[in-house]
């Protein structure tokens, strides 16, 4: 069981991050304010670990503490390293640290990638083990309950389509904000993706005025996205409603806990062909070839990119055309005809030679011309209807990466109280100090009990 869980995570977490890592270096994203606050409140001279650090967004928030970043994904770690962060590659389930080494730990958008309850518990217990008594742990996970979207199930596969990730920004974006390291790949869950961005299956069904969101923090994409949508009027809302319904079927039919995971995996196995996927309970968004899709996608590009990723701060913000509903719908229906294409053969993740797709961090840092070209091209695409195929060719040898392969990332989204319950029942060494919801994420701060070890 654990082996199957590991396999699922390898395919739908690790391989995806590895393959998409190169695209993160060009984007800057904001650090979540409450996470920043947590880090800044740590005493000077503290030893802090960011478990699942991605490209290192939080590693330099507080210069008075020593922050070590760890991630399972080598390419992401390389990017963080190239930005001058102290990082390493390791596994949350087996942290290579002595007991009680750290004064504080953050786990932002990580635990929701573990596919069984046991693994999630283990990940948390490992972090508790390496915390000093009295030390604090902050955990953020994607919430099942979202204001504008509906996760039908807790275990979902979310596509990430790089081709659609155009620039995005939010109102609060501050130009020239460069201190963040890349983008929190693992913490993208915060902001449930906009329905238009096929970066996620979570589509908006409605778009109530997002501005009503309490914005103690910087406004997030959702806010902008919704604002844009609402401008378009009724028609768009109807469209999104439709989208929402149709994509619900993409989610797992049941939670992947031990008893069901095996079955799911077995069903998914024959998934080497399209039919397998289409019939299985694991639904996947039909893949979209960028070459085709960009054409149609153009309407999809919106200023915010959503994605299930975090808020992006674009250094050069370009206004993008709002999608035209009808074109979008047409496109989607066409897509849905069944073809999971390469997603279906399940090889895209493996066969696409993910390692080849991972750009060397050094190149990236220099401003990998391909990657940045892609960004620019996409934006140009939106405004000028340029030939989408050009975009693909930019990334020379790796057309596959851009290929609409919608890399599917696995998430276990948490119900309200679930994370709290997990700690209370299974991680007695931690005492929960606070818990709440932060922009679509359940977050908890817990403390290692004294005299525990």
């Amino acid at each position: 069981m654990d082996h199957e869980a590991a396999q699922l995570e390898q395919q739908h977490v690790h391989d995806v991050y590895e393959s998409t890592a190169p695209y993160f270096s060009d984007l800057q994203s904001k650090a979540w304010p409450r996470v920043r606050q947590f880090l800044q409140e740590q005493k000077p001279g503290s030893l802090i670990a960011d478990i699942g650090c991605g490209t290192g967004k939080y590693l330099k928030v507080n210069s008075q503490v020593y922050t070590l970043g760890c991630d399972y994904c080598g390419p992401l770690v390389e990017i963080a390293r190239s930005r001058g962060c102290e990082v390493m590659v390791c596994d949350n389930l087996n942290l290579p640290f002595r007991d009680q080494g750290f004064d504080a730990i953050i786990s932002i958008g990580v635990i929701h990638h573990f596919s069984t309850k046991q693994r999630r518990i283990r990940a948390i217990k490992e972090m508790a083990r390496v915390l000093v008594p009295g030390g604090q742990l902050m955990i953020y996970v994607w919430a099942m309950e979202q204001k504008n979207r509906h996760f039908e199930k807790q275990d979902v596969l979310v596509p990430w389509n790089r081709a659609l990730c155009s620039q995005l920004f939010s109102d609060s974006s501050q130009p020239g904000r460069k201190q963040q390291c890349g983008h929190p790949e693992r913490s993208h869950s915060y902001h449930p993706p906009c329905s238009i961005c096929s970066c996620s299956v979570c589509f908006k069904e409605q778009c109530p005025s997002k501005r009503s969101h309490s914005m103690d923090y910087e406004p997030l994409m959702a806010g902008n996205c919704c604002a844009d949508v609402s401008k378009e009027g009724e028609e768009e809302n109807g469209f999104y409603n439709t989208l929402g319904k149709s994509f619900r079927s993409w989610f797992f039919s049941r939670s992947l806990d031990e008893s069901t995971l095996r079955k799911q995996i077995e069903r998914a196995r024959p998934l080497k062909n399209t039919e397998g996927w289409a019939n299985s309970t694991i639904s996947i968004q039909p893949s979209r070839h960028s070459s085709l899709d960009l054409d149609h996608q153009e309407p999809f590009s919106i200023r915010e990119q959503n994605l299930d990723e975090d808020v992006f701060v674009e250094t050069s913000q370009k206004p993008l055309e709002w999608p035209r509903a009808s074109a979008a719908v047409k496109h989607l229906h066409g897509d849905q005809q069944g073809e999971v294409r390469r997603n279906g053969d399940g090889n895209f993740l493996e066969g696409a030679h993910p390692s080849d797709n991972c750009v060397n961090a050094g190149n990236v840092e220099d401003g990998n011309p391909s990657a940045s070209k892609i960004l620019k091209r996409i934006s140009a695409l939106n405004s000028t209807d340029s030939n989408p195929d050009e975009t693909i060719s930019v990334k020379e040898q790796q057309p596959n990466v851009l290929d609409s392969r919608a890399f599917m990332r696995y998430y276990h989204v948490f119900r309200e109280g679930e994370l709290y319950g997990l700690l209370k029942e299974h991680v007695a060494e931690l005492h929960v100090l606070s818990s709440g919801n932060d922009h679509g994420n359940w977050c908890i701060i817990a403390e290692k009990k004294d005299n525990w070890d």
């Binding site: 082996h3 020593y66 399972y72 590659v89 640290f97 007991d99």
Partner: protein
């Protein structure tokens, strides 16, 4: 990988438990990286340091051939202007056989009385904990012998399924 990081690392190969610490460092390439000296910061780190592990790691770096150590720039100048030029008899091109920047003989064996205010002590600790960056090398589990690579400054501690604890 800084030596402070090394000080936190332990092998998690199945069955080794606490005997997996400290990892034995073998460095084949090291860079000395100037880091701004913050005495308060260093002073607060001192209580967290596992001294024996630190001394062992520092020693392996000290014995590296000079050619394997990348210095930040002109020795004694530039970013190093806050340091006293060392009359070590070495210049960057000189093959002394020892890493000239590490005064391991002077690395304290443990915190001294009043270390919080002892600038010399703190600077030595600052240097060894934060300014030595192992770019290439290995970390070896003292119990199982398993080697973990360090490449481009990044240690990779992933184990195969068979090797991890269940």
């Amino acid at each position: 990988m800084k030596l402070l990081t090394h000080n936190l690392l332990s092998s998690h190969v199945r069955g080794v438990g606490p005997r997996g610490f400290p990892l034995r460092l073998q460095a084949t390439e090291v860079r000395i990286n100037p880091v701004e000296f913050n005495p308060d910061f260093v002073a607060r780190m001192i209580p967290k340091v596992e001294w024996a592990a630190l001394l062992e790691a520092a020693e392996t770096v000290r014995t590296l051939p000079h050619a394997r150590v990348h210095l930040p720039g002109e020795w004694g100048g530039g970013e190093w202007s806050h340091r006293q030029p060392r009359a070590r008899g070495g210049t960057p091109g000189d093959d002394l056989g020892l890493c000239p920047q590490l005064h391991l003989v002077e690395v304290p064996k443990g915190p001294i009385e009043g270390y919080e205010h002892d600038e010399k002590f703190l600077r030595q600790m600052h240097h060894v904990l934060l300014e030595v960056d192992v770019l290439e090398g290995t970390l070896q589990c003292p119990e199982s012998g398993r080697l973990f690579p360090i490449s481009r400054g990044i240690p990779n501690m992933l184990l195969s399924d068979e090797e991890t604890e269940t």
